[in-house]
């Protein structure tokens, strides 16, 4: 009796600490073969940990297992996915995906996506799940369509996460692992298996191994983007104000004679630019959102917004067009322009 | 007579000088700032907080930002009198 109680207590603690997607290891079915069978073929995540959203797909006789519908769709874009299988959340067995009822958008967290997708063998179970956690029921075809539509958005989110994980992974590899000459990898799952087997890293947690694997595959870390730093005594050649007081607005021009000019706003930069166009080498402006240096010719600009710079009306610069459009909508801007679209007349109206 | 005053003044000047020296030479420690960056918590150590609920066990720690607001977990504002 006591034993039973104890084991029950243990079970409940285990289920508390775990994520919704996780199941006990002995209950998880692994359809893949090989060393890396524990991990998602696309992203290398632990399949037991994300078992409830697991998918499997057999292509040319080889079965790959994926941690989520997103990974499946992302790896096999524009394929018919005839042989796809999915885990039934109720029975934890693989079923044919085309017969499954997908609950999309429930309050339970999703894997690799903000829009969670769980599959059920019976409609009754799916309805019960919807009643408890919200969401809507779709069939496989519709679910794939939704996942395909979400792909770009999810990839952007995953990319951001991977960049962070990669930085941490680099540090983990440096601090924890003794094996320093590690071969190159192209698959997260393979890198993870290798690092766990031959990395000499002590006891790595799954999360840590994943981060190291991401670092090993992505390797090239995005170079640190720095803000433009103006010397303390630098004055704007157009308006004569000290520039370093306005770090959010600094723009910089390097002439062909390697002379550096700093400006306290893009408006002044443009005036200078139109006056001495030929003699300029590099031009940098500051990204409004992140306060980082970006090349002026690749930047996007918004005019007429309700954000004012040190010189009043300002041309505000952004690293991407999407950012500029978003800002334009948020701050009642008049127009989104590329560098070439800015004319002398526009600059003149700002003065 | 002025000898007494001379000694008194020199003692005072010496003390003042020592104060100035200690003010200037003891260099600023960055330990606190490093720690703030490490924990990223704005709150002072609990020992320094000035709002001390009578029953700490029920204190809602997150009220440290809204220090005017009574923590809802101390019910004495309902059961008073």
């Amino acid at each position: 009796m006591l034993k039973l109680l104890l084991s029950l207590a243990l079970l409940s603690t285990l289920s508390f600490a775990q994520m919704f997607q996780t199941v006990p290891a002995q209950k998880a079915q692994l359809l893949q073969k090989g060393d890396a069978k524990m991990y998602c073929h696309a992203c290398g995540m632990n399949l037991v940990k994300f078992y409830k959203t697991s998918h499997a797909y057999t292509k040319n006789g080889v079965t790959h297992q994926y941690c989520s519908l997103h990974c499946l769709v992302n790896e096999n874009l524009h394929s018919d996915l005839i042989d796809a299988k999915v885990v039934d959340v109720s029975s934890l067995k693989f079923i044919n995906a085309h017969d499954a009822y997908y609950v999309i958008g429930s309050s339970k967290p999703g894997t690799m996506t903000m829009n969670s997708k769980y599959a059920f063998a019976s409609q009754k179970d799916a309805k019960a799940f919807v009643k408890a956690n919200g969401g809507k029921i779709y069939n496989f075809h519709e679910a794939v369509k939704i996942a395909t539509n979400d792909c770009a958005k999810n990839n952007k989110m995953i990319d951001k996460k991977r960049t962070m994980a990669s930085k941490k992974g680099a540090m983990m590899l440096h601090k924890l692992c003794e094996n320093k000459n590690i071969p190159e990898f192209h698959s997260f799952a393979k890198a993870k298996t290798y690092i766990l087997a031959h990395g000499n890293c002590g006891t790595l947690k799954d999360k840590q191994a994943q981060a190291i694997a991401i670092y090993l595959v992505k390797k090239a870390l995005p170079s640190q983007v720095n803000p433009i730093v103006a010397p303390k005594d630098a004055k704007c050649p157009v308006c004569g104000m000290f520039v370093s007081k306005y770090p959010k607005w600094i723009a910089k021009i390097t002439t062909k004679e390697h002379k550096e000019h700093y400006f306290d706003g893009n408006g002044d930069l443009m005036q200078f630019y139109f006056k001495s166009k030929e003699n300029l080498d590099k031009i940098f402006v500051t990204d409004y959102y992140n306060i980082t240096a970006i090349p002026a010719k690749e930047a996007w600009y918004v005019i007429g917004s309700n954000i004012y710079g040190p010189m009043g009306d300002e041309i505000i610069s952004f690293a991407s067009k999407a950012d500029a459009q978003r800002f334009n909508a948020d701050h009642f801007g008049k127009k989104v322009l590329s560098f070439d679209e800015i004319t002398e007349d526009i600059v003149e109206t700002l003065r | 007579m002025s000898k007494i005053f001379a000694t008194l003044f020199s003692v005072l000047a010496l003390a003042f000088g020592l104060t100035c020296i200690s003010l200037l030479t003891v260099n600023k420690s960055t330990a606190l700032q490093s720690f703030a960056q490490l924990s990223t918590l704005p709150g002072l150590a609990l020992s320094v907080r000035y709002f001390e609920p009578r029953n700490r066990f029920y204190a809602d720690e997150n009220e440290r930002f809204f220090i005017d607001m009574r923590p809802i977990s101390t019910m004495d504002f309902i059961y008073a009198k």
């Binding site: 207590a9 508390f16 600490a17 775990q18 994520m19 967290p109 903000m114 952007k156 989110m157 941490k168 540090m171 983990m172 924890l176 002590g202 006891t203 947690k205 840590q208 981060a211 409004y288 959102y289 992140n290 306060i291 978003r326 800002f327 948020d330 | 007579m1 002025s2 005053f5 005072l12 003042f16 104060t19 200690s22 003010l23 003891v26 420690s29 606190l32 700032q33 490093s34 720690f35 960056q37 490490l38 924990s39 990223t40 918590l41 704005p42 150590a45 609990l46 020992s47 320094v48 000035y50 709002f51 700490r56 066990f57 809602d60 720690e61 997150n62 440290r64 930002f65 005017d68 809802i72």
Partner: protein, 392 residues
């Protein structure tokens, strides 16, 4: 020579009236001491806290339920990362651990040791920290107050935490934080984030709250609105809220001293009055004699003013030096109890020496000027009348 004679006479005069001067000197010293030690202490504390404010998150997100904050789902941080202008969304894990034997609280903070910024700061605080060794076993870094308390219960090398699931977790004490950081770290325990999750009972898909960083503060208001609209049960705390809370904290503590200030002010007025009447009555005769000996009005006034300036300035300097010693060398015993709380672990802070000179000079001005006027006016009055009348 003229000057030397003058000062000689001045010192003789001071020595002669030493009983009269010494009472004023002692009371003035005491007043200056009390006032300036309060000013120094509160200013030093404020300064230390302001330095920590810079490194705070621009927004802190909490999930609210029934007016209490509950654990925040991790998926929120992915959502917030999508908002333009937010450069970083950091889920934080921290909370209180109740130390039953002494009925005190520890603050357990879980940090990710592989975060670049954090590991850099950790290296600054703890010299030669071996990350591999630290993470191999459950280890923790503790503040001074925690160390003192654990020592009291004979936990010298480790402590056994109890998780919310009645499991026991033995965690070794790895190192202690330097004393200079104890304003924040006194009752804090820092450990690996996963270990902290286990001890605090926070599941893997949740965090205590989320810290957001926004490099451009012009965008702060806009982001605030976007955040508030994202969820119905969200609480967004801005950095300025924290700054305000600090300001209020010090105003409140400073307010306690208003009563003290008032008493001090009253005493000061009494001193001034005593000074005034002293010059008016007993010094009147003296001034008359000096005038009869042929001193000019100017000389008499200079003599009287220099005399009391010496007393006042000496008292101010001594009071201030004593206050400096009391606050920064002795760490302000008694007085600090008013500024620090005393419900949790006893506080042991070493304050950094910082002085707000504008406040000190203001104190000097408001002390010296009335003092001088209280002497100047009666001595001028006494010296302009006929010496014969003054001597009478």
């Amino acid at each position: 020579m003229q000057n030397k004679l003058f000062y000689n006479f001045l010192f003789l005069l001071l020595l002669k009236h030493r009983i009269k001067h010494i009472s004023i000197f002692i009371i003035s010293t005491l007043i200056v001491f009390i006032l300036s030690s309060v000013v120094l202490l509160s200013n030093a504390l404020q300064e230390e806290i302001n330095t920590t404010l810079d490194s705070q998150a621009d927004f802190v997100i909490q999930k609210m339920r029934a007016g209490k904050s509950v654990n925040t789902p991790l998926s929120w941080s992915d959502e917030f990362r999508e908002i333009e202008g937010i450069s970083q969304a950091q889920p934080r894990v921290y909370g209180q651990y109740f130390f039953k034997p002494n009925a005190e609280h520890f603050t357990i903070v879980g940090i990710d040791f592989f975060d670049e910024q954090k590991s850099k700061n950790l290296q600054k605080l703890i010299t030669n920290l071996d990350m591999k060794k630290f993470l191999e076993k459950p280890n923790m870094l503790i503040g001074h107050g925690v160390k003192a308390l654990l020592d009291k219960y004979y936990f010298f090398d480790y402590y056994v935490f109890k998780t919310p699931h009645q499991k026991k977790r033995k965690v070794n004490i790895y190192q202690i934080f330097p004393k200079e950081s104890s304003l924040l770290s006194n009752d804090m325990i820092i450990m690996d984030i996963d270990l902290a999750r286990e001890i605090l009972g926070i599941s893997e898909e949740q965090s205590t709250d989320i810290a957001l960083y926004n490099p451009n503060e012009l965008e702060a208001e806009n982001i605030y609105v976007k955040l508030v609209l994202k969820h119905a049960d969200i609480r967004v705390i801005q950095k300025s809220d924290i700054a305000k809370a600090y300001k209020r904290l010090f105003n409140y503590k400073g307010g306690l001293f208003l009563i003290l200030y008032m008493i001090v002010l009253l005493t000061f007025m009494m001193i001034l009055y005593q000074r005034y009447s002293m010059v008016q009555s007993s010094d009147k005769k003296e001034i008359g004699i000096l005038r009869a000996l042929g001193w000019s009005i100017k000389d008499v006034i200079i003599l009287k003013v220099t005399e009391s300036f010496m007393v006042a300035f000496g008292a101010f300097l001594l009071g201030f030096i004593l206050a400096f010693f009391f606050v920064f060398v002795l760490d302000a015993p008694l007085l600090s109890n008013i500024f620090y709380g005393y419900a949790n672990l006893p506080m042991d802070i070493s304050l950094h020496r910082s002085i707000d000179f504008s406040l000190v000079s203001l104190l000097f001005l408001f002390y010296i000027l009335p003092f001088m006027t209280a002497v100047l006016i009666p001595s001028w009055k006494a010296s302009v009348i006929d010496p014969l009348e003054a001597m009478r």
